[in-house]
Symmetry: C2
Subunit: 461 residues, 2 copies
């Protein structure tokens, strides 16, 4: 729902953008800089994305590498586009810009490039920035280390509020956040934390050790980024310190990075439930789209062939009572749906940590109960419908009982399989919807045709 205000906001933006473009076209550098640097870096990036290569060259000319850095931190483009944009700049400009970015953002960009390119940028860069970035490049993907930044403010506990504020004012331009200040001992081990909020309401001569909080919640550098997100969410932090196993302070992770992580993880779980391997970006071509979907489709095709050969085994039964075929999609569909429901609850429960608090056995028992209730309801319903529709009591009974048992088994499978995978340290979200659906297809057809074959004498041909 877009209201008046939103429409107005948008029109203002468009006018600003038009003016900026005109300034670029007319080579009015001063006018461009004046207007452009007023914009929030995210808006700068949005404007920049709309330009074509030729005009971008002017932007690199008009802006310093430092000014470009804050735009680049907010640039959201396809992973492989970073290379192209960097190639538009001179190597010196690009390296200078990268060293002016927050280290974690620079690492994100460099991770998209070839090793050779990374090495050559690091060589031109100033040594300090290059070292910081090199250190961060080592950490494994999806760990706290891979998303932390090294631009934090640390002080010693013997300082007073006054001296802490002086440090803070000096370091403010470079630190990613100045709202939490971390206190370290002589070995650079994390000893406490103090917020700027506490700092500014305290007397200037107070010692930091008297007002700091020495029960600091921190994360380990090897911890999964999802766990980090959980901590920041639960504690409502703006940042969390990252330490090694000896409690040395290595970096911090800020809440804005966590917001991105959460988006990523949610997309990831979602796409796996749908059986698409990667949905981070909307693709520009049908070919790359197809490449992401085909792996699943082909696996499922072979699984589907198994289902087909399974039904083939019951050809004799089918030949005698062709009407049986009518209910195959219904029964298989119900099994697939109920399995996906159970799967989703289990996967989400594991992801949010809600499930850790109670025993797996309890979940399985509860799911069995759920399957029993849904099975009974749907089974009885189906029995009546089939009976009134086909006027065949035994057929109704057969379909009803099949639905009943299928729903129980499928619900159990949907919750048991992700739990089992979690147990063996496999991401349970990999057991995607289509996979569970196909497993449950097979189970349901076995139940349905198994019973039909057993009680064939009761069925009218």
């Amino acid at each position: 729902m877009r209201d008046q205000k939103e429409k107005l906001d948008e029109r203002t933006y468009q006018m600003d953008f038009d003016m900026l473009k005109l300034a670029l076209l007319n080579d009015e550098m001063d006018k461009f800089r004046e207007e452009f640097l007023e914009l929030h870096p995210y808006d700068q990036a949005t404007f920049f994305k709309e330009l074509d290569e030729e005009i971008r060259a002017k932007v690199y000319h008009y802006l310093s590498p430092e000014e470009m850095a804050s735009l680049f931190e907010n640039l959201e483009i396809e992973e492989d586009e970073y290379r192209d944009v960097l190639a538009e700049m001179t190597p010196d400009y690009a390296a200078d810009m990268l060293s002016n970015m927050y280290a974690d953002d620079a690492v994100d960009v460099l991770n998209e490039l070839d090793k050779d390119q990374v090495a050559s940028y690091l060589t031109i860069m100033d040594d300090e920035a290059a070292q910081e970035i090199k250190d961060l490049l080592h950490y494994e993907e999806y760990t706290a280390g891979s998303i932390m930044t090294t631009e934090f403010i640390a002080i010693s506990k013997n300082q007073t509020v006054r001296s802490a504020m002086t440090i803070l004012r000096n370091e403010a331009p470079r630190a990613e956040t100045i709202y939490y200040i971390y206190v370290v001992d002589e070995d650079r081990c994390l000893a406490g934390v103090i917020s700027l909020r506490d700092l500014i309401v305290s007397d200037d001569d107070t010692f930091i050790s008297d007002i700091m909080n020495d029960r600091v919640v921190s994360v380990s550098v090897s911890e999964d980024q999802e766990e980090v997100a959980k901590k920041i969410r639960d504690y409502n932090f703006l940042a969390v310190p990252v330490v090694d196993f000896q409690d040395h302070l290595l970096g911090i992770i800020t809440v804005d990075d966590i917001v991105d992580v959460m988006d990523e993880e949610a997309s990831d779980d979602y796409s796996k439930l749908a059986g698409v391997s990667d949905m981070d970006t909307i693709d520009r071509s049908p070919m790359s789209n197809a490449r992401k979907r085909l792996p699943w489709l082909i696996i499922l095709l072979f699984l589907g062939m198994m289902t087909a050969s399974l039904i083939g085994k019951f050809e004799e039964t089918l030949n005698k009572v062709a009407i049986l075929a009518t209910f195959i999609p219904l029964i298989a569909g119900m099994a697939g749906n109920t399995g996906t429901q159970a799967l989703a609850v289990a996967v989400r429960g594991i992801a949010t940590g809600d499930l850790q608090k109670e025993s797996k056995l309890k979940l399985i028992i509860r799911e069995a109960g759920t399957g029993f209730i849904t099975g009974t309801t749907c089974g009885i319903l189906v029995m009546f419908i089939v009976f009134f529709w086909q006027h065949d009591f035994f057929l109704g009974l057969l379909v009803g009982v099949s639905i009943f048992s299928t729903l129980i088994v499928a619900t159990l499978a949907g919750s048991f399989i992700p739990l089992l995978m979690h147990r063996f340290n496999i991401d349970p979200a990999v057991a995607s919807g289509p996979f569970i659906t196909t497993i449950n297809d097979i189970i349901s057809i076995l139940i349905y045709f198994g019973m039909a074959t057993m009680f064939m004498n009761y069925l009218s041909p």
Copy 2:
């Protein structure tokens, strides 16, 4: 992956908790308070949740309503449990606690109670807090208004940095964030924003108007909470101001609330894809579990019945060529899977806003292309498999061509339906996986049996 540090952290927590419990049991109020008030409110809430009612009564006795308020803000319990916990307190204590909570958190709690209860608490509460809460209770769910808080810091632009810092120090204990200070004009319209970061690096005598940013990004009070989340994410804000259509500053929304919103929305989209109506909380009973899943299952049961009656129409074909039944689950399954993939991409694209940037027509054309590629690949593959397995060229051709056309149509349906719903302002996530699956079941069976009936003469019985 849990490492050494995490295990150690956990053990420390358990020891703290045990000690606190002991202090409660031995009626050692001072010891309890000393230790307890050292904990982060989230840990206080975690500890509190583990206690039974009797011991909780002591906690209410030992802690002031104000101290209890910060615990309560961090308490994450089932929605219907809030009522029970509040009932354990005296009405005066509860009302006093509620008025000490941040208004947005108090509103969240009150929204779970009956109207009578809310009214009675509001009557006992001090007038100012009651008025703030009453104002917030009016806003529609899922809008910016419903999640904003009124505890922000606003100053006028004629002030100096020095006087602004004085206001800040005074208001710090009550404001939800002191890191952004909003500047308003004489009509309380939003005129600018300044961060505490800018404030502390500026000279004391500088006028606010000289250093404030007058291009404030704000949200409208009626804006959807998902839009608010998008803005905070894109701009990396710690908070965003909420205004009415005349730009009056009404409140702020902080990033920690947005983190919760994102979690909620992600769960919501995920559960809809799986066909579960609400997955916010893990349920304690199979019955409430079943209640959430049955609505979808029953709708799908009726849709499945339609599929069944559709196949029934082809009974004659089936009677002649029973082998046709074998491939029903394969074809229907492939249609369902590919439709879910296309649906997921479209829903996620709409949710993240990536899709707004390009035309719907382009998406449809791209999806058609994708369907063509996946259809051709899977179709040819299936044709060969069926041919070598059943030694029946025409059967192979029939199944292959069915898969080919089904995949194209199903991919289109999967992307077209959510776009259509979005167009008519229906949340496209409602077109859940099971729904698309069933639609595509029907389409695929029509194609398959339609062709089989047309070319029956070529098939061996």
